[in-house]
């Protein structure tokens, strides 16, 4: 669901991984959705036995919009001691995925991807073709929208309809910008209309724990 909130929640990012400082945490590869499956199959055959994690990032405003990030670990299966294990290699595969493009599942290569892919589908709306059981996992099954998308409002679309004033919504206050632009009269009018709109929502008068 598109948000009416401006500016988008928690700022924008064009391509942070492209300008990252030199950090020695893992080898990095960038692939396109078309070559993803073949590359991951090859990596598994190379000895990347464990899929550590699978997550996504929404770079709203960038094309392609999403990054689906695979963290792999190259580790011998029979390694009963630290010496045998040595230092496993870490690899990060970033798949730059446009909005609406389906990705092939890897849950047949690494079973660990089962819930991880369901979570990415649930929270970002990226569909994995071939997944045996692609259902929502964290959100209720009848939920609408995908909450970790950047255009999804923090408090949810239902409460979006009765917005809090700009100064009360942290994500609307950019760093260094004084919260202003609202007059006392406008606020009072809003409180009044607010109370009529939704008597259950305490809005400005309290109820929000933070």
């Amino acid at each position: 669901m598109p948000s009416t909130q401006t500016p988008p929640i928690a700022g924008t990012a064009i391509d942070p991984p492209g300008v990252r400082p030199a950090i020695d945490d893992a080898a990095i590869e960038v692939v396109t959705p078309a070559e993803l499956r073949a590359r991951l199959v090859a990596l598994k055959n190379e000895g990347y036995t464990m899929l550590l994690d699978l997550g996504a990032v929404d770079y709203l405003g960038r094309t392609p919009r999403f990054d689906v990030v695979y963290h792999l670990l190259k580790m011998p299966l029979r390694a009963a001691s630290v010496a045998q294990l040595a230092t496993p290699a870490r690899l990060r595969v970033r798949c730059e995925t446009p909005d609406g493009v389906h990705l092939p599942t890897v849950s047949d290569l690494w079973k660990a991807a089962d819930w991880a892919e369901r979570e990415v589908f649930d929270l970002f709306g990226i569909v994995f073709d071939g997944h045996p059981d692609l259902r929502r996992i964290q959100m209720p099954h009848d939920w609408e929208g995908h909450p970790l998308r950047k255009d999804y409002p923090l408090r949810g679309p239902a409460r979006e309809r009765s917005p809090r004033p700009a100064f009360a919504l942290k994500s609307n206050v950019q760093a260094g910008v004084p919260p202003s632009g609202r007059t006392l009269e406008a606020l009072q009018a809003q409180i009044k209309s607010h109370a009529v709109d939704d008597p259950k929502d305490p809005g400005l008068t309290g109820g929000e724990s933070r």
């Binding site: 990012a13 942070p16 945490d25 990030v69 294990l85 660990a112």
Partner: protein, 406 residues
């Protein structure tokens, strides 16, 4: 989209023959939180198990995107609420990598962090052992374990100010130096611990009932464990000596001597033994860290752009006042980039994948939840076993639902 509206019904698991479908949880006491398992059972034995999670989903990752870097850390602590310091440390290490100050962290801060990591590991294993015992009908273990854990929580409170979520780790070091009398209380704990662990072993390890319930139950093969992404004691119980502290040392762990206990049986009893041995190794590290902490020194980096200057100085120095105000009102900024950092939490590899866009808030925080990946293995473990054994398996995988659901 039809995929997203599939309701949660018993039809999720197929119904054939004499089997029936049973929903275990989410309020079942032995599911350690809010785990629901849709079970297809044939008499007493499980044909298929489909865990359903998400009952504790609170959108922590989304919330973190809307908080300052330092505020987000308090949310990180609330994921794995039994080991808050390990979450906080992992997050803090990741932020420090992005800031490029990893090598500037003072030695004393590193040792205090290691000390807290190991104490929190012992406390977490205490909860696991106590509840695992209760699941199997051994009530008294619970009280011994929680007594020991209470001592550790007292130390956490002394250092950080809160029992459960001390928020003691900070970007750049720790919140403050160890308080007066802390090391003496730590000494008392170190003196008490070996005897108490011996008692716990005496209660369970050679107990024939406990052995009957755990030996050869929930056998997780190496291949399955690696396939499901199982890490931590559960993986080491299956025979892989993968420990982040040794494989990718962080926060000065390479200066410490300790062993990685492993077993090859892969059953619930092996995981039990691995965790008990791990508690002993943790104590070794605690003793060593305590020795290193004799030497005084700075507990935090000296960079007023990242760490707020001490409160006392703000009445003496205009600059300190300004820095304090800036840090409180708008936090600090982190250079753009992405980073993956992991630590060995009590449940396995706990990782954070952070993306920064150069602002004072994280752009994206992705957690690698060790519990979630461990719990998935239940799908392989459960079929063919009794429902009563399912309780043992859940207990031996030690999931924490704050972390599974986030």
């Amino acid at each position: 989209m039809s995929l997203s509206t599939t309701p949660l019904t018993p039809e999720i698991v197929s119904q054939e023959g004499n089997s029936m479908v049973l929903s275990m949880g989410p309020q079942h006491p032995s599911t350690h939180g809010v785990l629901q398992i849709m079970l297809e059972i044939d008499g007493e034995s499980v044909v298929k198990a489909e865990p359903e999670i998400g009952y504790l989903h609170t959108g922590i990752e989304k919330n973190m995107e809307n908080l300052f870097w330092s505020q987000a850390q308090t949310n990180a602590e609330r994921m794995d609420y039994l080991a808050p310091s390990s979450n906080a440390l992992c997050y803090v290490l990741a932020v420090e990598k992005l800031l490029g100050i990893t090598n500037d962290i003072p030695d004393r801060a590193k040792h205090i962090r290691v000390l807290n990591m190991e104490l929190t590991r012992i406390a977490s294993h205490c909860v696991w052992l106590g509840t695992h015992g209760i699941d199997l009908g051994a009530i008294s273990v619970f009280f011994y374990c929680f007594d020991l854990r209470e001592n550790i929580l007292d130390l956490q409170e002394a250092a950080g100010g809160a029992r459960m979520h001390p928020n003691y780790m900070r970007v750049g070091g720790v919140n403050g130096d160890l308080p007066q009398g802390y090391l003496e209380r730590l000494d008392a704990l170190i003196a008490k611990f070996p005897g108490r662990l011996k008692e716990l072993r005496g209660l369970l390890q050679a107990n024939p009932i406990f052995q009957d319930r755990t030996i050869d139950v929930g056998i997780l093969s190496v291949e399955d464990a690696v396939q499901w992404g199982v890490t931590g004691p559960s993986l080491r119980g299956s025979g892989v000596a993968y420990d982040v502290r040794k494989a990718f040392p962080y926060s000065g762990y390479d200066e410490y001597e300790f062993d990685i206990p492993t077993r090859t049986e892969g059953d619930a009893y092996a995981r039990f033994l691995v965790r008990l041995d791990e508690m002993e190794e943790s104590l070794r590290i605690v003793v060593r860290a305590r020795e290193k902490l004799r030497k005084p020194g700075p507990f935090s980096i000296d960079d007023a752009k990242i760490v707020a200057p001490p409160k006392e100085t703000i009445v003496l120095s205009m600059e300190a006042l300004i820095h304090h105000f800036k840090i409180v009102s708008e936090g600090f900024r982190v250079p753009p980039g992405d980073v993956y950092q992991s630590v060995e939490g009590p449940r396995g590899e706990l990782g954070y994948y952070l993306v920064s866009n150069g602002e004072n808030r994280p752009y994206r925080v992705r957690t690698r939840p060790a519990s979630m990946y461990n719990l998935q293995a239940l799908k392989t473990l459960a079929p063919g076993n009794f429902i009563a054994d399912l309780v043992v398996m859940i207990g031996s995988l030690d999931p924490v639902f704050g972390e599974v659901d986030r």
